[in-house]
């Protein structure tokens, strides 16, 4: 009994912190999203009017498309490239610690700083990348930040560059934990490299793959810094994500209710997605 009480007491500070820093703001943003709250003024309950207005707004519809494209392409690239990198890193013997440390750098450097460096590299006037292209005779340069599709490719590239180390290191951890006996047994049964990857590596990697994918999808959907620093949602709102649009409408536009509605719009979708991914993870654990 005493142990139970002590246990609750030990957990209480963390629960209080969760309640104050996560639960309260979350409930408050739900309330804001159902009201016409503006900065500095009280709000009134208006039901789902904000969500209805958003669903008919062309800018929001574009943001929905942008977010979907950004998330799917970024996560797919990070998954494929991350897994490839993990498989390669697993084979490295000499200097593996140093190499793994260096590979983590993009993920470790503060996002705003690294994105600012990318901004300089993509700058419309002073892009070092365009300078290189001109020097080698590959044309006048690329409109990295001024063409909608190039701008989308640019923000996705920076996101992939930043998130790739996380995928690689997590998947590497999963790879090294797979018992070698399974590969030996598969080899004895005549399985080639592709078959070993498909029937041994992937199923056993499923739990960690699920967790990494879930984390990456949530972080990518809610990304803010990369778009805010590189393009501020432009050109022509072609790179706006939910977070940047909510920032523009809620803070610059002072419409906190609408801003909250934007950020909460995908919440049900993310909950379903998390449930599905966790089920995949659980099935992978059963297999293991």
């Amino acid at each position: 009994m005493r142990d139970q009480r002590t246990g609750y007491l030990m957990v209480a500070p963390a629960l209080i912190a969760l309640a104050v820093l996560i639960a309260y703001p979350f409930l408050l943003s739900i309330y804001f999203s159902l009201s016409d709250k503006r900065v500095g003024l009280p709000g009134h309950f208006i039901g789902l009017e904000n969500f209805e207005a958003l669903s008919q707004d062309s800018v929001f519809q574009q943001t929905l498309f942008n977010t979907g494209l950004y998330t799917v392409v970024s996560v797919a690239c990070k998954l494929v490239l991350g897994l490839t990198l993990a498989l390669l890193l697993e084979k490295v013997v000499r200097g593996q610690r140093l190499l793994r440390g260096i590979i983590l750098l993009p993920w470790v450097i503060p996002a705003s700083l690294s994105t600012l460096a990318w901004r300089w590299m993509f700058d419309p006037s002073y892009s070092v990348l365009n300078w290189c292209l001109r020097v080698v005779g590959l044309g006048p340069g690329v409109p990295w930040l001024s063409d909608p599709w190039w701008a989308r490719a640019t923000v996705i590239s920076v996101n992939v560059w930043r998130g790739l180390p996380f995928f690689a290191i997590c998947l590497l951890a999963g790879l090294v934990s797979i018992p070698k006996e399974f590969y030996e047994a598969a080899r004895v049964d005549g399985a080639g490299p592709r078959a070993r990857f498909w029937y041994v590596t992937l199923p056993l990697l499923r739990p960690i793959l699920g967790i990494v994918l879930l984390y990456s999808v949530i972080m990518t959907v809610s990304d803010f810094i990369i778009v805010h620093v590189l393009t501020r949602g432009g050109p022509l709102q072609s790179t706006h994500l939910f977070a940047t649009l909510a920032y523009r409408i809620g803070l610059a536009g002072t419409r906190l209710g609408m801003g909250a509605a934007i950020t909460l719009f995908l919440f049900p979708v993310l909950v379903v997605g998390a449930y599905v991914l966790l089920r995949i993870v659980r099935r992978g654990e059963e297999f293991a």
Partner: protein
């Protein structure tokens, strides 16, 4: 025996520092520090000022120096915080909502109207300054005197004049005097020659605040307006159509890179030696001079081109306002008066190199605009200076429409062929109607 002696000795030493005594010592040290600091806080209040990071690098240190001098003379503390303009608006929103933050804030353009209910009336300060150095100009009164009360004190404004590289114009046979007389049609014709020579003009058609500075003069001089003084959205008109058609015709002769520009984009464009013409306050020339760049001698400023309804220049206004929740209201007012005092104001004009223009008549005769040849057209202006979104009523809707870049976006949608001219005007009309709806009287 020795061990016992050692143990006794240890006990006598550790007794000096029993847990209880240790905690007492810590408590005493902590509370005395707290009390000392508390006493210090009680004696010297701190006045804080939030403003934008000036584009002329020598201005910020001078402002900090002035504020420090004021603080020293009043035996108070003072702090100036600088933010870039796009980051200033969300910061102000945070302070207004939390009712916590700086004492004095920058009232950029329609910010005094946006946060009218949260700002102190400054009638005493503004009227005193008006009597001493006035009268106040129209732009100052339009943005800061709301419903008969001064919600902010106009500090200075900067206007977007045409910045040119004289060498590139000379190369196509145009002297500075010729460029000065150009109207919009003339600029369009010369833009073709300049593009051929590799030095295009830059009428900033981008989703950035500078977009207002380039595109509103086109709109206004064609007779177009976004919102009328009563708050009615009137952007869908034949005059707006004419302005959009003009921008669409000019766009192919400009760099497409400008679609990705922020407010520093056209500055960099001119400083890189590529651009030949762009609307901007004189920071391009000032920065090149400060950095002793060879291109500094090539820059000059001429009035904005004229259209059928006259010649206009956008003036972005900076005013000083005090939050109602400020705990240092009297000191904050005193600091504002100090900054607006003529000797101190002259120092600010000098530190900004003539970039800062004043809404007070007496300050407009500062000799810097006569002694610096490149500023001869900057002050006094030849064109009519208007705030962005003019002649919209100074209400929250105008600042929101400004923050959301509705007018520049409308132009961008047309020049990139994302929308036809009628569709772009309809889009802008819907956006503005939604923004202004809560503020219709």
């Amino acid at each position: 025996m020795e061990l016992q002696a050692l143990q006794r000795e240890w006990r006598s030493i550790s007794g000096l520092w029993s847990r209880r005594r240790f905690l007492q010592a810590i408590g005493a040290a902590g509370s005395s520090t707290f009390l000392a600091r508390g006493t210090a806080w009680a004696q010297a209040p701190e006045v804080t000022l939030l403003t934008w990071s000036h584009f002329v690098p020598t201005y910020n240190p001078e402002l900090q120096k002035l504020v420090a001098e004021w603080a020293s003379s009043r035996k108070a503390n003072a702090r100036v915080d600088f933010l870039s303009l796009p980051d200033l608006m969300p910061k102000l929103a945070g302070e207004a909502e939390a009712k916590r933050g700086h004492d004095i804030i920058l009232g950029y353009n329609f910010v005094p109207a946006l946060y009218k209910e949260n700002l102190l009336d400054l009638d005493d300060v503004a009227e005193d300054l008006g009597k001493r150095y006035g009268p106040w100009s129209e732009i100052g009164k339009y943005l800061c005197n709301l419903d008969g009360h001064w919600k902010a004190v106009p500090w200075y404004h900067q206007s977007l004049i045409a910045n040119i590289n004289v060498d590139y114009w000379k190369a196509i046979g145009m002297s500075v005097e010729d460029v000065q007389k150009l109207n919009w049609d003339g600029l369009l014709q010369k833009a073709k020659d300049l593009q051929k020579s590799g030095h295009p003009v830059a009428l900033v058609t981008a989703e950035t605040f500078d977009g207002f500075g380039s595109l509103c003069p086109v709109l206004w001089s064609m007779g177009g307006k976004a919102v009328d003084p009563k708050g009615n959205v009137v952007i869908k008109s034949s005059e707006t159509k004419a302005a959009l058609e003009y921008a669409k015709e000019l766009f192919p002769y400009m760099t497409r890179d400008m679609l990705g520009w922020d407010d520093s984009g056209n500055n960099k464009y001119m400083l890189s030696g590529v651009g030949s013409w762009t609307p901007n306050p004189p920071s391009i020339w000032l920065v090149s001079r400060l950095q002793k760049l060879p291109i500094a001698d090539k820059f000059d400023h001429v009035p904005m081109p004229s259209g059928p309804q006259g010649a206009y220049r956008v003036g972005d206004s900076n005013s000083l306002a005090i939050w109602k929740f400020s705990r240092n209201i009297d000191l904050a007012k005193d600091l504002i008066k100090f900054l607006m005092d003529k000797p101190n104001y002259d120092r600010q004009i000098a530190a900004a190199g003539g970039y800062n223009q004043s809404s007070l008549r007496q300050f407009q005769s500062n000799p810097i605009w006569k002694t610096e040849r490149q500023l001869r057209y900057y002050e006094p202006p030849v064109e009519e200076i208007r705030a962005p979104m003019w002649p919209a009523p100074p209400n929250p809707g105008s600042q929101i429409a400004y923050n959301l870049l509705i007018v520049p976006l409308m132009f961008v949608k047309v020049v990139t062929n994302e929308m036809s001219i009628p569709d772009a005007m309809t889009w802008a009309e819907k956006q503005l109607q939604r923004i202004y709806a809560p503020y219709r009287s």
